[in-house]
């Protein structure tokens, strides 16, 4: 299956989802669906660096918030349509990802992870002290109720949902293309044995920088529409640790070596969380995510995909 075919099929599936949502006509479906799609983008972005190269990024929340606050800044400075905001956020987060990578990736592997962990705290400090984007009080974003595209009038939430759907398709297609390209094989050599790869002439630093930049950019893109989705943004919610945990847990539970893993993980975990938040409580649902992450990394290191593959290889009993 080539890239074009894959894109067409995923767009087809996307349109089906959209048609189903439209037929359902429930605003709640859009709200819940948006969150799950957002996690698909975040998990896929995390996996480009984490799953393919083997470098852990704990700063998903930071990149996500970077995207969200780029939007807030532009909203106050000069309001632009959201697709443009998404591109701006991609550039900002991509640059930050590149800078972080450049400073820490030349050293021991764990330094990058630690630096991303600390970065979330620092960016949050910056935003709290920056009054222009609302500081610690937060900022309100006024969004219109309806939206007109090509003569069609649709609810604004539906518009956001479509945007996120497109982003998810783009992220998945990118991840899949990388996986089957020379770039992906380069990433895999880094993951398996960086020393040997370096010795064979693989430009490891350059590849790692490509991965951090791409991964950061996608996380920023996922954050860009967030202020419009939520309507009121404050540092606590934009930098929430749940983004970091989920974007690690979802690929880990799904399986990190292929693009299907993050997709499966985020759909399963994302819907389970939507359900648990409504029926139990949001603290308990986070506890479940944490426990599942710990359980999966110990018991099923290759995630659900790994379990299925093992089953298939062994053949029917």
């Amino acid at each position: 299956m080539n890239a074009l075919k894959f894109s067409l099929i995923s767009i087809g599936i996307g349109l089906l989802v959209l048609a189903f949502a439209h037929w359902l006509g429930l605003d709640y479906f859009y709200f819940a669906g948006y969150t799950i799609l957002q996690f698909i983008v975040l998990a896929t972005a995390w996996n480009i660096l984490g799953g393919y190269c083997g470098y852990v990024n704990f700063g998903t929340a930071a990149f996500f918030a970077l995207g969200a606050y780029s939007s807030v800044f532009m909203y106050k400075f000069y309001p632009l349509p959201i697709p443009v905001l998404i591109l701006i956020s991609a550039v900002v987060s991509g640059i930050v990802g590149f800078g972080m990578g450049y400073l820490t990736l030349r050293l021991r592997g764990s330094f990058f992870a630690i630096a991303t962990l600390a970065m979330a705290v620092v960016l949050q400090t910056l935003v709290i002290n920056w009054d222009y984007v609302g500081g610690s009080r937060g900022a309100y974003i006024l969004r219109p109720e309806k939206m007109e595209i090509a003569g069609l009038t649709i609810n604004y939430i539906e518009y956001l949902f479509v945007l996120m759907l497109i982003l998810a398709v783009v992220a998945l297609a990118t991840a899949r293309t990388i996986e089957r390209s020379q770039l992906g094989f380069g990433f895999a050599t880094i993951r398996d044995d960086e020393m040997a790869a370096e010795a064979c002439g693989v430009p490891t630093l350059r590849l790692k920088l490509i991965a951090t930049t791409l991964s950061g950019a996608f996380m920023g893109m996922a954050g860009a529409p967030f202020p419009y989705y939520i309507g009121y943004i404050q540092p606590q919610s934009a930098f929430g640790l749940e983004y970091a945990v989920n974007s690690i847990a979802m690929p880990m539970i799904g399986g990190t070596t292929s693009w299907i893993g993050p997709l499966v993980g985020s759909i399963l975990l994302g819907s389970a969380q939507q359900y648990a938040t409504v029926t139990i409580s949001s603290a308990v649902n986070l506890l479940i995510v944490g426990l599942m992450l710990v359980a999966f990394v110990i018991i099923a290191p290759n995630g659900l995909i790994g379990l299925v593959q093992k089953r298939l290889r062994r053949g029917p009993p």
Partner: protein, 291 residues
């Protein structure tokens, strides 16, 4: 700029006291990350756990938090050895510590934090002791006992750790395992056992650090996150595996943070550690006393 001298001197003294406390929080990571190469980002969660145990016993039985934490040392030690055993069997043995091991500790951090929220709620908790409140004055300098006591306990902890690592057999073995694990095996000593002991000790220090934390400031479950950046910044700046280095780096960070919050406002203080971390990584990755 018109700098008032007593403000400056007071800020520096406060920074040194704060730094000693940071050193106590870092002690465990300087063993686990510095010597054993285990990136235990869940350490702050164990510190917070220590705080809550100190709080719980203090409120119900009125025992001094430091005494509670020392009594809890064996429990934390056992907890540490258990965590290491799981870590070793699941990740280190299979050579998967870099990706899955990190995710494991991250999950552990998260699970501990959320469990504490579920049990105690998100209210700030504090302890009661005779030395919380009054302060001593020496000339211009005012030192609250609330900061002096943790500083003294932290220094005692460092003295004990340094003696343990340099003078005892096990301590020297820990240093050896950090340098060459294979060589230790050839000397007919089990490196895994030594690492288990070392990790146990590293988690045990979290009990003391937790008690000090709740003496210094009221605690809620997510406070620990603010310390992750500081801990690793101190560890890297001090030089990995160097216990005196960690103490010096912690004092330095304490002073710079205290000066920052005195002259620019406390809301900027958390950014200092990150600056330290990035500058160290960019200019001297080996740290101050690193080899």
């Amino acid at each position: 700029m018109d700098i008032s001298w007593d403000l400056l001197v007071n800020a520096i003294v406060a920074g040194l006291l704060l730094g000693a406390f940071y050193a106590a929080v870092t002690a465990g990571v300087s063993i686990s990350f510095g010597m054993l190469d285990i990136v235990n980002i869940a350490h702050p969660a164990f510190v917070i756990l220590g705080s809550y145990i100190a709080y719980f016993v203090n409120i119900n039985l009125g025992i001094d938090p430091v005494v509670v934490s020392i009594a809890m040392l064996p429990v934390f030690y056992l907890l540490g050895t258990a965590v290491y055993q799981v870590y070793y069997l699941s990740f280190e043995k299979r050579g998967q510590e870099s990706l899955r091991g990190l995710a494991f500790f991250f999950g552990l951090l998260f699970v501990t934090e959320v469990s504490l929220i579920l049990v105690f709620g998100v209210d700030y908790r504090y302890v009661e002791a005779a030395y919380i409140g009054p302060s001593i004055n020496i000339g211009l300098i005012e030192m609250p006992w609330r900061m002096v006591v943790p500083c003294l306990v932290a220094l005692a902890l460092y003295g004990a750790l340094e003696l343990f690592v340099t003078r005892t057999f096990i301590g020297r073995a820990i240093k050896a395992v950090s340098q060459d694990q294979l060589a230790l095996q050839l000397m007919a000593s089990d490196p895994i056992r030594i690492k288990r002991i070392a990790f146990g000790v590293s988690i045990a220090t979290a009990s003391v650090a937790g008690a000090l934390l709740i003496i210094i400031q009221p605690v809620e479950p997510s406070v620990g996150r603010d310390y992750i950046g500081r801990i690793f910044a101190i560890c890297v700046l001090g030089g990995l595996g160097s216990i005196p280095g960690a103490l010096i780096a912690a004092m330095l960070l304490g002073v710079v943070e205290s000066l920052t919050s005195t002259f620019y406002g406390p809301s900027w203080a958390p950014a200092v550690s990150f600056g330290f971390l990035l500058l160290t990584l960019a200019f001297r990755p080996a740290g101050l006393l690193g080899r």
